[in-house]
């Protein structure tokens, strides 16, 4: 069991800075997910921890020991590759045991370990097969088995489910969560899929352009995103955004949006954000609604998604449950939202804490 610590870690390839000054503490036994769009440096960061790529600057510690210059094989880690990286000419059994062959532990002990891992992952009946005779999900299990047999202190997963179809991905996600509960090792998991991040992580690390954008539990990141980037990245369908202008203490936006927040002097506000499930549609205008044109509805059975146009080139998604609202395309509808569900972002994309100015005035009085 081991913690993982990154101290001011940077990585450059030539003139390209892939990772910039990352500081991170991962506790022993924690499940941490690195998430971000492609090219954000999440896989590189994982490879730096693994020791497959040397850091340009900074230090990597595993279990409190500095391992910055320690080779990958001596770091007590296992790595599960996106492509599975199974040896195509070896059968499943040998794929799992290959690294043990030079460990001087004897054939019987190797077989015992392979069988233990195989039964844990339910691949005991596949041991004689070659990787090409396996399905995607089975290959993934073998790859995890190969990681497991080394009995590492830290598991590193590099987008392990991205080559699987949707059903299998859900199934394997469950398996990985179960595995973490059983072996209780530290796990670091890279994905670009926000659902995987939300469902698997104890804590999520959101990366953007090689920098840590925010670290926190899935709930913290969802409810209190630090930046517009995090707000837009987590959640599906995505958060709805619209530009806004602050004049004389009052915000104005498309569809007749108007709101007077209590803000510190000198604060800029450039965008508002609302999650799809915070929105509701009605035919009649309310006190704090904005006007929109109904575009289209999608019935997903357990919920529905409505798309409304609130301005030129600005489509918002509204999510609800129950009966599909009976609006016609082209009809004018009014969009309202729960109090406290409005997010404000400043010019640099930072989220602003805010409350209505009149309520603050009441409290003061």
């Amino acid at each position: 069991m081991a913690s993982v610590t990154l101290k001011n870690v940077s990585k450059s390839f030539g003139v390209y800075d892939i990772i910039r000054n990352v500081d991170l503490e991962i506790a022993d036994g924690e499940f941490v997910v690195f998430v971000g769009p492609s090219g954000c440096g999440k896989s590189t960061l994982l490879r730096l921890i693994a020791g497959l790529v040397p850091v340009s600057d900074g230090a990597v510690l595993i279990g409190g020991d500095e391992v910055t210059d320690v080779p990958a094989s001596k770091r007590g880690i296992s790595f599960v590759f996106q492509s599975y990286a199974l040896y195509p000419h070896m059968n499943v059994s040998r794929n799992i045991s290959f690294a043990l062959e030079t460990a001087r532990i004897g054939k019987a002990e190797i077989m015992r370990r392979v069988e233990a891992v195989a039964s844990m992952l339910k691949i005991g009946h596949l041991l004689e097969r070659k990787p090409r005779q396996l399905s995607g999900g089975q290959r993934q299990r073998v790859a995890i088995g190969r990681a497991l047999v080394a009995d590492p202190e830290v598991f590193l997963f590099d987008e392990p489910l991205s080559n699987l179809d949707a059903d299998l991905r859900t199934e394997m996600r469950f398996e990985i969560a179960k595995l973490h509960a059983e072996v209780k090792a530290t796990m670091i998991y890279v994905t670009h899929d926000q659902t995987e991040a939300m469902t698997l992580a104890d804590r999520i690390v959101v990366l953007n352009h090689g920098k840590v954008e925010q670290v926190g539990t899935p709930r913290q990141l969802y409810d209190r995103p630090a930046t517009r980037f995090v707000a837009g990245f987590l959640g599906s369908p995505k958060m709805n955004f619209a530009p806004t202008l602050l004049t004389d203490g009052r915000l104005a936006g498309p569809g007749g949006f108007s709101y007077a927040p209590h803000l510190a002097t000198g604060t800029t506000v450039s965008e508002i954000g609302l999650r799809p499930e915070a929105l509701a549609l009605s035919a009649q205008p309310g006190s704090d609604t904005i006007e929109s044109i109904f575009e289209r509805a999608e019935d997903l059975g357990h919920e529905y998604l409505c798309y409304v146009r609130i301005g030129e080139g600005l489509i918002w998604t509204v999510r609800g449950s129950g009966a599909l609202p009976a609006f016609l395309p082209g009809q004018t509808v009014h969009v309202g939202w729960r109090a406290d569900s409005l997010y404000l972002f400043d010019r640099d994309g930072q989220r602003l804490d805010h409350r209505p100015a009149d309520r603050v005035a009441e409290e003061v009085a």
Partner: protein, 297 residues
């Protein structure tokens, strides 16, 4: 006849239509000459007048079979093939492994290494013939200056050295071909297999022995097959260097001697047919060993 049957039949017809030009060309340039050669092998025809002949049965085949010169040529060819292909494979693998690593100017080196192979064999042979000249050759001059030998060695005149020189020149000329084929095979091996091995602490020698070698083996096999078949019918190198010298005479040179030198169309054709049968047999054995006829995936 169901519509599917009809569609399948139409498809088969189209397929034959596409293959037809190839079949015609093959018939014209391969099957027909081969058939003529086999035909003449059973006659006593002479090259100056191939129109007049009598059938002599297997007499020509027996003549070749009982000719010690022919067996000398077979032995030379086999020694040349085994040794040169062996060295070329080892060397080719070693150089391919070097070139597979990323280093500055790798592209240039890759292009440069092809130069010996791109040169006509006659030119290469003449260059080496001159460089290995016992009195004026560069090689002897360098060796003498360095004090390794006291006086020039007659590389291309000494019967015991001649076959070695032929093998040396062939290695120089065709190793680049091996390098390129093996390099192509190496580049097909996914990099993450090595990363997986690296993370789990598999030592370097075992990575080479248990990952690289088995995965590049098909490419090496194909390269060896090509080179072996090429070496078995080698003619130009030996002929330019030493004409029909018994020490380096190959099967092809023997056949050429019978056919052109002695104008004996019958015996020459019989010799050619023997060469064809020997090479065919070896090709079948190699293809069987490599299991090239079976799909790998």
């Amino acid at each position: 006849m169901t519509p599917t049957d009809r569609a399948r039949r139409a498809e088969t017809r189209v397929a034959w239509l596409f293959v037809a030009p190839l079949v015609v060309i093959l018939l014209a340039v391969a099957i027909w000459p081969l058939g003529r050669t086999v035909f003449f092998a059973f006659t006593d025809a002479y090259l100056d007048n191939p129109g007049s002949y009598d059938f002599v049965g297997f007499a020509n085949f027996v003549t070749v079979w009982e000719d010690a010169t022919f067996w000398r040529a077979v032995r030379n060819t086999l020694v040349f093939t085994v040794v040169s292909v062996g060295i070329e494979t080892m060397l080719g693998l070693a150089i391919a492994l070097l070139l597979h690593r990323a280093f500055l100017g790798r592209g240039l080196v890759r292009a440069a290494i092809l130069i010996p192979w791109a040169m006509p064999m006659v030119v290469s042979t003449r260059i080496w013939d001159w460089m290995l000249n016992d009195q004026f050759g560069l090689i002897n001059k360098v060796l003498v200056e360095l004090g390794i030998i006291a006086k020039g060695i007659a590389w291309t005149a000494d019967p015991s050295l001649l076959l070695g020189v032929v093998i040396f020149i062939d290695v120089w000329v065709t190793t680049p071909f091996m390098v390129l084929l093996i390099l192509a095979g190496l580049q097909l091996i996914p990099e993450d297999l090595y990363e997986a091995a690296e993370v789990s602490g598999v030592p370097q020698w075992k990575r080479f022995w248990s990952i690289t070698l088995p995965l590049v083996a098909p490419a090496i096999g194909v390269a060896m097959l090509f080179r072996t078949l090429d070496a078995l019918r080698m003619f130009d190198l030996s002929y330019v260097l030493a004409a029909n010298n018994a020490n380096t005479m190959t099967m092809s040179i023997y056949a050429r001697d019978q056919l052109i030198g002695f104008q004996d169309l019958g015996v020459g054709s019989a010799a050619s047919t023997w060469v064809f049968l020997i090479i065919g047999l070896i090709a079948i054995v190699i293809v069987g060993l490599l299991r090239l006829d079976r799909p790998h995936h």
